[in-house]
């Protein structure tokens, strides 16, 4: 049975981001260091306070055993170099919260630093496929890029439930409008549904404007105990719940009769009950949601699987006014990965913290008390993770 011991034990006390760009001109080590220092300054802490350091990466970025020593953190009491993509982006922060709750570390910095446009393009052409294991069943057919892996469940969902290109387009259009109010966003010029429908195919049903940006940049978050966070510079944001769920992977086979039979339901459907139970909250309590948007369609399936609408209704719901800044459930208030930039999951957490502090400026959600922030919903490199965050008192 899931315990609730983690709920409220740890908080996010600092957040730091570098500028997002198409070419940072600096190393991922330098990006990571800048984001970590900014986050510590935000919290009112120094390097000497840090005793934990963590990241996730897929062989594309500077690890904790480089970034730590580069900042003088030579003997962290806890560290984590998590292999994985967006599915583990929120797990890293959840695991830092566990380390803090267990008394192993006091102050953990979690970062993600990527030059995903100028150095290591996930959607790039000509990349050698990763190693064997389950990619052996996709790579020989030209199924190589994340956009292709997501296109298959998206197509299945469209066929099963009548989700349309216009539903997907509405997500891209709205998130671009949100980004216009975000100085950090890379894409701020408004787009229309016609612009969306005219954008070139990449891998059907996805057009270019269904795809997240490839971004250079870094984000860092400071995780500490809820008690300590209350003595620091900024209003604390509490980790009301962190949850994990197993794979629904396009790479890994489902166990017979088990997970992953139905492409139209994501791993979030299994994670969500754990997450809400840990926090003692439900979907109706969520004031805003930062939903992992590597592609537009992942918003659709997560709206369903996190319980904001019924199965199959995610398309019409995503296209409705409900998801705007002033709506009943503002989603991807910063523009998301589609328009702000793609720092592999962690910039969703940074935005949620800003919203819960009331720091979000013209895109601020009134009365934001509870935010959901989610990782990739378990389709690629199996597994997913998510956080429920609450404004500290």
């Amino acid at each position: 049975m899931a315990g609730t011991g983690l709920s409220g034990a740890a908080s996010l006390a600092g957040v730091g981001t570098t500028p997002f760009s198409r070419d940072s001109g600096i190393s991922t080590t330098a990006l990571a260091c800048r984001a970590v220092l900014t986050a510590l300054d935000d919290a009112g802490l120094g390097i000497g306070d840090v005793d934990g350091i963590a990241t996730h990466r897929v062989g594309d970025s500077s690890p904790p055993w480089v970034v730590g020593p580069a900042l003088g953190i030579t003997d962290p009491a806890w560290h984590l170099d998590q292999f994985g993509g967006g599915g583990v982006s929120h797990a890293v922060i959840g695991q830092a919260a566990l380390a803090v709750a267990a008394g192993i570390a006091d102050v953990v910095v979690c970062y993600r630093a990527i030059n995903a446009r100028s150095e290591f393009r996930m959607g790039g052409q000509g990349r050698a496929p990763a190693g064997a294991f389950d990619l052996q069943y996709q790579a020989p057919y030209g199924l190589l890029a994340p956009v292709q892996h997501y296109a298959v469940p998206a197509r299945a969902h469209m066929q099963a439930y009548g989700t349309t290109h216009e539903h997907l387009g509405a997500i891209a259009v709205r998130q671009r409008a949100n980004a216009a109010a975000n100085p950090r966003a890379l894409k701020r010029d408004p787009i229309t549904l016609d612009d969306y429908l005219a954008s070139p195919w990449v891998s059907e049903p996805f057009r270019l404007l269904d795809c997240c940006l490839e971004t250079d940049g870094a984000c860092a978050l400071v995780v500490t105990s809820a008690e300590r966070a209350r003595d620091l510079r900024r209003p604390p944001v509490d980790i009301a719940a962190a949850a994990w769920a197993g794979g629904h992977s396009t790479y890994s086979p489902p166990a017979p009769g088990g997970l992953g039979d139905d492409l139209t339901t994501s791993s979030a459907a299994r994670l969500a009950p754990r997450l809400y139970a840990m926090a003692g909250l439900g979907p109706d309590d969520v004031d805003l949601a930062e939903l992992y948007d590597c592609f537009t369609w992942t918003v659709v399936v997560q709206l369903e699987d996190y319980g904001f609408c019924r199965k199959g209704e995610g398309g019409p719901f995503a296209a409705s006014e409900a998801l705007g800044i002033g709506g009943e459930l503002p989603v991807n208030t910063h523009g998301g990965f589609l328009s702000e930039g793609y720092v592999h999951g962690i910039n969703h957490v940074a935005e949620a913290v800003g919203q819960l502090r009331g720091d979000a400026g013209p895109r601020q959600v009134d009365g934001a008390e509870v935010a959901l922030s989610t990782g990739q919903p378990g389709y690629v490199l199996a597994g997913t993770s998510a956080l429920l965050l609450t404004a500290g008192r």
């Binding site: 052409q125 000509g126 064997a132 052996q136 020989p140 030209g142 296109a151 298959v152 099963a160 059907e204």
Partner: protein, 170 residues
């Protein structure tokens, strides 16, 4: 040219092939079988579609594994599979991601007829992707993969002399 640009790999790899999808075709990626799957791929190379079954509880599984996820038995047997299934999902890729695969092309996820939760991938052959629908019956065909990548190529690996593709079944 700034520092970052100077570190980028050239558009051509060491064999002179373009890495950006334009120009001459390149050998298909052959990521390599693992020690569980090698027998299956060797059979594919002979034009046979095998399915692994637990020797104790008789549950079929795909891809190959040493252990049965249902009863944890380590005993298994190979049987001739049906080589048929139904379309579960697909994508028509309209951008070239690898020089071996010139866009457009269609990749299917196929639910095998041999049992529940058995999925195989492959390209659509002999049909227009515009006519695809979920649940559509398909059958396996075996496609020669052509010459192996040159020594030292990033996609070198196992034999993979044939792969499984799919065509509509009447």
């Amino acid at each position: 040219m700034n520092r970052t640009q100077s570190l980028r790999q050239d558009v051509r790899d060491q064999d002179g092939r373009r890495r950006d999808g334009r120009g001459a075709a390149a050998p298909r990626p052959r990521p390599g079988a693992d020690r569980d799957s090698a027998y299956w791929w060797e059979a594919v190379g002979e034009g046979r579609f095998l399915v692994q079954y637990c020797a104790d509880c008789r549950t079929p599984r795909f891809p190959a594994r040493e252990v049965c996820a249902v009863c944890l038995s380590l005993e298994w047997e190979w049987r001739e599979g049906t080589g048929t299934g139904t379309v579960d999902g697909w994508t028509v890729t309209r951008r070239t991601f690898h020089p071996a695969f010139e866009a457009p092309y269609t990749v299917l996820r196929v639910a095998l007829d041999d049992g529940p939760a058995l999925y195989c991938w492959g390209r659509l052959v002999g049909a227009d992707p515009g006519d695809l629908r979920r649940g559509q019956p398909v059958e396996a065909v075996f496609t020669d993969t052509g010459p192996a990548p040159g020594a030292g190529a990033p996609t070198g690996g196992g034999a993979f002399t044939k792969v499984v593709d799919w065509r509509p079944r009447e």
